[in-house]
Symmetry: C2
């Protein structure tokens, strides 16, 4: 008898029919003897409806009240899903974030989970109930309602699984697993049966939208086995596991890519300590996330060219901020480009295999694709290329590293 | 500096525009130095929308989950109203029933309030906030969400006022006060400036829909001065007070009436002890509320005719139940009528004035209206008449007791 935590996203519970379908699926797990805790999101469209209501009243809605408002979305789902389960003869009990004591810090709209008290849930599980928990929400020490930010339901599920020492945390979504790359770009993209946590972390941060990165971090921290699978189709999905792969395994596991990138370069910056901080400080204060950063010494060795990438949505704002930052630095001009894309190779096998980067560069060169920026970590290589070459580059690399072939594991 | 509790119903907060208007009204109270606690209902239409969702899933929705579901309606309103207040520069803080510790019993869908802990609210009031509380909801001792049943927000407001020892509890609604009778029936109906608690209790139970009867009982029990007034128009509304009127005041204060009545008579019931219980027991067990009960000895003195009235919605069901009850009683046949109406006179002045009943009967006789049943209490007389005579009877009585004239008080 296993204890399984399952998470269903907004699309999976987006209508009465889908809620009934999810209930039927949960029942099959329970019928085979498993103890089941379910974490759900708001019905798709509901969160947007609530945000729109708030914005009609206050241009920048009060953060505390926004969380009071948004948390109702998941509360509606837990009630409806519990009814649907009861309707199938499967006793169920709903819990809001506050009722299940998902304790968070007090940072409204993007709170972080501190602890969960699983005691009450365990008693209800022992009594034969399926437990249905509202994802995305918690309470702070003063009992104020908090939310974890978009995608936070994944984190709620992982945190529940950690608190209850669950055997597996299953994230049901609208895709049937993690793919070697985006199947809309490379039709030969293959679903991975398993992937390591480190790889999944890189995939999530590099543009694979399957899992929210914080939930993967959380699962890694608390050693929760995580599985991504489809709400709509049968299948084993992708297991994100702690086991390192055998050495003979594929060197590269996946090729995430993203076109939501923009690149900004400050030319001729005086080469002094603290310059990176001076340029990027105001940008990070404005909550703009900086992704890749490259700094190169120029020919004269007195100045440097400083380049970084941001999300394309933040591009205009970042340029505005630079306008006032760059002047006192006595730097040269700013050049920028928001028609770029990022292609990455991810794989724990890279650790022990040399030449991956070289093979990547050679493959791209063969296709006539110019590399604009490079950034590496132990298990990943990312390159920035012109946006129009993204699909071509992904397909060439997928072919070159033979990702369409099933790995042996 | 007064402490005022205000309650706004679903129509008053039915749209973003109306929520903004309510916020502006609240601000005028606060600007003149009052401390304000606001209790709100769900936006009109929201509760029905949620009920419909639930009924699509479960024909008889699970009561616990129904309360989890419905309580989201008020939670949306408290967040939006708090935002609207903040937008006007009026700091506000929302509280769900659970957060403000509205402790109830565990009877889902129609819980009763046991106690409220006002401490946390008082600290926030002292800090200059308007407190916005979700009406209609509470939590039981185990932390389960409960609701008080339709109209329960009035009760929440009165309970808050009692817990905080408020100077006045103001119920804002879509009428501007309590009228001598239904103005749609008698255009000369007059708004009462004040009415006693006993009178309001009778008015509420006899068909005046202005206030939920439980909230009036609650206010009476905890001596909370209650005022009914319009959300949309200026005015002082009607104050429901504890002061008894002077003797020279009007004898009759109001003429509530109701056409939602049905009458059932069991003829020739053996005149034995316990017969009322045998007839009405199964009916009250089915949660059908019995209103008037009349029992008359027949000519033979061995049997009795037993008549009672129920709400017209419960008429068919009551007749079905009687089918099985009456047979073993060796009673005669059952006759019934669901085309009847009730007209009542209410007034504390009746206590000291004889002849009110007589004047009522004479007035109705003059109009050729036959009285089918009579029931009296210390401050009220109710008669059952054929439905088609209801308007005529109300107008004649309103005239006869000169209710269009302003009382001196």
């Amino acid at each position: 008898m296993s204890l399984i935590v399952q998470k269903y996203g907004g699309t999976s519970v987006g209508s009465v029919e889908r809620i009934n379908a999810v209930a039927a699926r949960i029942k099959t797990w329970r019928d085979r003897g498993d103890r089941v805790v379910v974490v759900v999101s708001a019905m798709s469209g509901e969160t947007d409806r609530l945000i729109k209501l708030a914005e009609q009243i206050q241009r920048r809605p009060n953060p505390r009240e926004m969380d009071v408002l948004l948390s109702t979305g998941e509360q509606v789902t837990i009630a409806l899903l519990s009814m649907a389960l009861a309707n199938l003869g499967c006793p169920a009990k709903s819990y809001t974030g506050g009722q299940v004591c998902i304790r968070t810090d007090s940072v409204y709209n993007k709170a972080r989970i501190r602890e969960i008290d699983g005691v009450r849930v365990e008693a209800d599980l022992d009594a034969g109930n399926v437990i249905v928990v509202a994802g995305f929400q918690g309470v702070d020490d003063q009992g104020n309602i908090t939310t974890l930010g978009r995608g936070g339901s994944d984190t709620s599920a992982v945190a529940m699984a950690a608190a209850l020492d669950a055997d597996e945390c299953q994230i049901y979504t609208d895709v049937d697993g993690v793919y070697t790359t985006d199947p809309r770009i490379e039709p030969q993209a293959r679903k991975l049966d398993r992937i390591t946590f480190d790889e999944m972390l890189e995939m999530a941060s590099l543009g694979s939208k399957v899992l929210q990165i914080r939930s993967v971090e959380f699962a890694g921290k608390y050693k929760v086995p995580l599985r991504v699978l489809s709400s709509f189709e049968p299948g084993e999905g992708t297991l994100i596991s702690f086991e390192e792969k055998a050495v003979e395994d594929a060197v590269v596991s996946g090729i995430p890519c993203s076109r939501h990138e923009a690149k900004i370069t400050v030319l001729g910056v005086p080469d002094q300590p603290g310059i990176a901080h001076k340029i990027l400080g105001p940008i990070s204060e404005a909550n703009i996330e900086v992704d890749m950063i490259v700094q190169n010494i120029t020919a004269d060795e007195a100045t440097t060219d400083f380049t970084f990438t941001v999300n394309r949505n933040d591009y205009e704002r970042a340029l505005e901020l630079l306008d006032t930052t760059v002047q006192p630095l006595a730097a040269g001009k700013v050049v920028s480009n928001n028609r770029i894309a990022k292609i990455s190779l991810v794989g724990v096998g890279m650790r022990s295999h040399a030449g991956v980067a070289n093979k990547m560069f050679a493959t791209l060169a063969r296709e006539g694709i110019n590399i604009r920026m490079i950034s590496t970590s132990e298990i990943k290589i990312s390159v920035i290329v012109d946006e129009r070459y993204m699909e071509l580059g992904v397909r060439a690399l997928h072919q070159a590293f033979e990702l369409h072939r099933k790995e042996d594991c």
